[in-house]
Symmetry: C2
Subunit: 370 residues, 2 copies
Amino acid sequence: MSSTPSLPDLASTDVVTLTQAVCDIPSVSGDEAVLADAVEAALSGFAHLEVLRDGDAVIARTRLGRDARVVVAGHLDTVPIRDNLPTRRRNESGELWGRGTVDMKGGVAVALHLAARLTEPAKDVTWVFYDNEEVDGDRNGLGRVARHHPDWLEADFAVLGEPSNGNIEGGCNGTLRAEVRLTGRTAHSARAWMGQNAIHDAADVLARLAAYEPAEIEVEGLVYREGLNAVGITGGVAGNMIPPECTVTVNYRFAPDKTPDQAFAHVREVLPGYEVTLTDAAPAARPGLEHPVAQDFVAAVSAVTGGAPRPKYGWTDVARFSALGIPAVNFGPGDPNLAHADDERVPTDQITAAAAALGAWLSPTTEEST
Amino acid sequence: MSSTPSLPDLASTDVVTLTQAVCDIPSVSGDEAVLADAVEAALSGFAHLEVLRDGDAVIARTRLGRDARVVVAGHLDTVPIRDNLPTRRRNESGELWGRGTVDMKGGVAVALHLAARLTEPAKDVTWVFYDNEEVDGDRNGLGRVARHHPDWLEADFAVLGEPSNGNIEGGCNGTLRAEVRLTGRTAHSARAWMGQNAIHDAADVLARLAAYEPAEIEVEGLVYREGLNAVGITGGVAGNMIPPECTVTVNYRFAPDKTPDQAFAHVREVLPGYEVTLTDAAPAARPGLEHPVAQDFVAAVSAVTGGAPRPKYGWTDVARFSALGIPAVNFGPGDPNLAHADDERVPTDQITAAAAALGAWLSPTTEEST
């Protein structure tokens, strides 16, 4: 008979071994149930934690009546496995290789490790482990919990364990997609002068995008680098027809100084006179580092890593917290450039450093920063 | 019991009624057998004709030992029917409406009409009715006959009954397609500066095509108008990825002064430094109007229509005759701009005029032009 996969005892296992164990229970988006069961079981033995569940999201929280409550969150799912599980530990390079080691089971393991050990944290903590982050936003487990149980997420500040090389990456750029539609007039290509070539008409659109110089925008002391790019183009009916239509799909990554509406207005300014349709947008998140709890966290991390907060360029679920009115930052082990890569791998000392920094911040012995 | 569709007696039916009868036997490419059977049966009653068959191609020829032999050819197939059969005759406008009336059962009916009536033509005539012209070139019935029975097509000159508004349209432009491939480097679109956007790189290719001024080239007294167009474009991997590749499909319609190799070299000159791959090419055909038999034909048509030869812009099967060393022209009733259209229709007087001109040329009473 086969045994149900389980995690080792959280209180006695080192955080790197725990990361490896979390990675070795596969949990591609939509198939997180086995890992969610293991996480729920591993957390249920601790008297200081109340464990809750919604679908494949597991929440564990202290209820100590502290002045402040923080959320520490991480998603359980990964992108598809590419022959890169089980994990392999390379002691000579100090790395752990395999799917999820970066995005983001290192962050999940740090949270599980601390959830078990911090029996009397200085702040009340809600540990959130959720499903379906790597797929369409409407399936996102954090979004679902926010809809089903908004009270479960109430907090003064949130830390999302997305890979950030162990630095604090504040807020995130927003993102929108829009379609630029060129309309011509078809004709047989042997009599091209009777038509109007919509693909040729796209030349100016692409030239404007190629010449566009993205802005660098400072928000709360962090400099966000924007980007405006064609991410798709399609046109043409048949090999002997003048194309009557061409559509350019544009992606704009915009800094947290703009709402999605303002960002779309900017895209229309860059492409004046063109038919531009917004297809989807996700708001940016301000870094939120002005909050005293956030400054406290920055000091704790800086004491361990020596690093200062940076901006996050990619869109992450910190924007969901931001939309709930909760300042949030990204903080987790792993290089985001290796997320989703076949050679995904994390330096194990980033995992232990993240656990040390987060633990120092939440431990009752930590002095509050001024 | 259902009767097998048949054509009316060729010798006693007027050519417009015959056109209608030919159109009303559906013969979409690949389904020409019923019409081919009817054509074979209708031609088989005449002692002056030898009737041959290859697949759904029917050939009827005189064997009078004349000094010259000409081919008069037309394809039996049409593009798909779009609720435009049976044909409708509109006497008030003098038009016959319906699929095939233009492309090219008018030309087929003219040939059937004359094949039956010209029992002793001034030149030996090979009447060719073939299948699968409207589909991929490798299925073309004329090409198949040329491979299976090259002797059946031997001639000094060929007239192809493709719609030309009753004018002689000499030769045809060639056509080639090529792919221009831009190669960039992918990256997450939140960190666009780490990649290179291949769609943006297509801006210059499209600008060059948009600015290109197609040549007008005189060949044997006819001016061929060329065209160089993007007919397709595709690029992009995902809405959050810098596209690593973009492909522009280009169609060049080139005058009969160029071989396909020379035409492709020209495309490469227009797009210097780009990766350009030839995907397919069909040679142009020179008008061949310098041949005495051709001049004879031009004079006969001019006597009826008053018109002078023009160039053919589109590619037609005259290029197949040209490749066999047989000068060939397009000559048939119908406006080529209405070919394949839902409102395909032909003025009936173009049908009778085409029959009169072709009949005059081939009749023994015609004086040879000098």
